[in-house]
Symmetry: C3
Subunit: 181 residues, 3 copies
């Protein structure tokens, strides 16, 4: 055990150059294209880097996206200000979903059974009409069901059933979501 040191850790970094170029674009041009009205320009840039976006998706200029080529968002959905989309693995967001400000979608972790902590990634799926409230955290491999609500600051490490409300850290079931429309 004593022989293993983290300096031997090496991570496969596919599309490294593309990633660097996108990072610069995200932190400069993308950031400057502020406001609701320029959403189509931002989406066009994201599509150039491989994101699958229909016409009417609202992604804020302060959103940090790791890899647009690993992102798919359904129509009428919104990624709010200062959201962090850490999609080393694929992140798929449904239609009419709302990801509120400050939320962190984290698709990567480490294998803690090894001292070298090798990277492990798992996709994240967020269903249609789900709402992930402010400052929430969604861990790798999690599926948020259709219409589910993740409360503000909740930290979600397990799947969330459709049309339920969860909250807390770790997130727990609070109640079923009833629609009165």
């Amino acid at each position: 055990m004593e022989e293993i040191t983290l300096n031997k850790y090496s991570e496969v970094k596919p599309k490294f150059l593309k990633r660097i170029i996108w990072l610069i674009v995200n932190k400069t041009i993308f950031r400057c294209l502020v406001g609701d009205k320029l959403f189509a320009v931002r989406n066009a840039i994201l599509r150039m880097f491989g994101a699958q976006l229909p016409k009417r998706v609202l992604i804020y200029s302060s959103c940090d996206i790791y890899a647009p080529w690993n992102l798919k968002v359904g129509k009428f959905s919104c990624l709010g200000p200062h959201t962090e989309i850490y999609n080393k693995d694929r992140i798929v967001i449904g239609e009419n979903a709302v990801i509120s400000q400050g939320t962190y979608l984290c698709s990567a972790s480490h294998d803690i059974t090894s001292l070298l902590l090798p990277l492990v990634t798992k996709p994240i799926t967020i269903g249609n009409r789900a709402w992930v409230a402010a400052d929430a955290f969604i861990g790798p491999g999690v599926t948020i069901g259709e219409g589910a609500v993740v409360g503000a600051r909740a930290a979600v490490f397990r799947d969330v059933e459709p049309w339920t409300v969860v909250g807390g850290n770790p997130a727990k079931f609070i109640k079923a979501r009833e629609i009165k429309d």
Copy 2:
């Protein structure tokens, strides 16, 4: 149910122009007025936008305030670095209160009984001598009682009794606060 889509969502945005102007001021001039000694200049700017501030209030230059006209702070209170005052609804902070770095006061939410997720706002009140520690989250409608302590990283969704200490996410009662002065 299938007919309702979020593209039909529309939010009333009162004082829209004032809000834009303030946003620019907050992110530029306000940010540059760093240091304890310039607190009076920062306060003067906030008062121009409608904030109710007595003479001796310390608001850091890295503080993000949504609407100064919805903010009232009592004397000798402090809003620390990188605090976020999301006062779509009124936020009132008492005297001798301390809001530590990274805290998020969030006065807005959505009505989850409707698929359109209409905005709902509720005021936040923080009592005299209360301390909200680093990185805490205070939700809409919450009242923090006089002298209460909200622990670091706590997420508060219910009222906190005066002179009590709460912590965790969701925040729970930890103990009564005893003063030995």
Copy 3:
């Protein structure tokens, strides 16, 4: 009790000038030295301000450090992007430790038994081979044992035993960490 007001609060600020100079360096030059390859330059700057760093430590350019002279990090360890090292008191990190992005190491608090909320600081110690995952919070006086894992978004206020996994807010024991290497 009514006579005590926070305007009488005064905090001892040792090395005040050094602190200001370092703050400016941290927010400007240090920030610009991006990338893995410039880690040695960043470390050299940190050493000039008193940090105890062996040759192979990786500290990201977006890391905020309060006082390099209160920081000691062991070889092959890493402080990730946007970590916050609030070391008013001493923070010692072992060898082969990983502090992931967004983590907040907070060595300061206030004495809540006094209305003046005097500052109290306690050192933080993180053992060899420990992993503190993304966005975690480590409070003052906490020792994270060797090989321990602190889950993403966990908030730790008590010591963590070696080779255990904790998570949640407040952080609780989840399981022992088994190594299969």
